[in-house]
Amino acid sequence: MDIYRAIADRTRRAILDELVDRSGQSLFELCGRLIMKHGISSSRQAISQHLDVLEAAGLIRTRREGRSKLHWFVGAPLKAIGERWPIATDEDTSNPTEEGIEE
């Protein structure tokens, strides 16, 4: 799974946003945040599959805490994007927008 496909989905980007907001979340907490904060009412099974895609791309890691499975964001793979298309130091980087990268 390459990172470009992994982040080419609104729900998966929202999952990463929420894991950046708080590390170490269960599936239940993530689903609650997605529906209440993003209006994403996908089933737990669907979110679980999104998590599998993100994990395969190396963008999240899971760990057991007690008997619960928790999820962490891992930003390192995203460095490949900046290395492939480096930002020139004299470049105007104002007004960044998410338009144009919707799936």
């Binding site: 708080r22 979340q25 269960s26 599936l27 907490e29 209440m36 904060k37 737990r44 007690g66 619960s68």
Partner: protein
């Protein structure tokens, strides 16, 4: 028709009774010995005539599998209403309770999830914007 009783399955009824009364602060309503187990219910101090919570032994193998799967995904078995999730979180952490989800503002509600040490996750919720 009224909802007068609901239940949580617990690993150890005596330990559960201590946690639900001494730690959470519910009041014992019934404790009737029934052979190997007992019929134990607790109620809220705020509504002693309200819904009873049965502390049911988790002896059935299917109950164990069901609870294991819920806990793995962080899904609470029961949810209790509180006036102030932050304050309850602080109080319960001081009592040694482990939270899997700290107080989280979800817009219309604030929620948190803790481990009841009897095999379940429990959610507490505070509704925001009440008059």
């Amino acid at each position: 028709m009224r909802i007068n009783l609901t239940s949580v399955s617990v690993d150890d009824q005596a330990k559960a009774l201590r946690f639900y009364t001494e730690t959470l602060g519910f009041r014992l309503k019934h404790n009737i010995p029934l052979g190997e187990y007992a019929w134990i219910t607790v109620v809220s101090e705020e509504s002693p005539e309200g819904t009873e919570l049965l502390l049911e032994p988790a002896e059935h193998p299917a109950v164990r599998r069901y609870r294991t799967a819920l806990v793995e995904d962080g899904i609470p078995l029961a949810s209790f209403a509180v006036d102030d999730v932050e304050a309850e979180h602080e109080r319960l952490v001081a009592e040694g309770v482990r939270f899997v989800q700290p107080p989280t503002d979800l817009g219309t509600v604030i929620t948190a999830v803790f481990d009841d040490s009897c095999g379940n996750l429990i959610q507490i919720t505070e509704e925001k914007g009440q008059p």
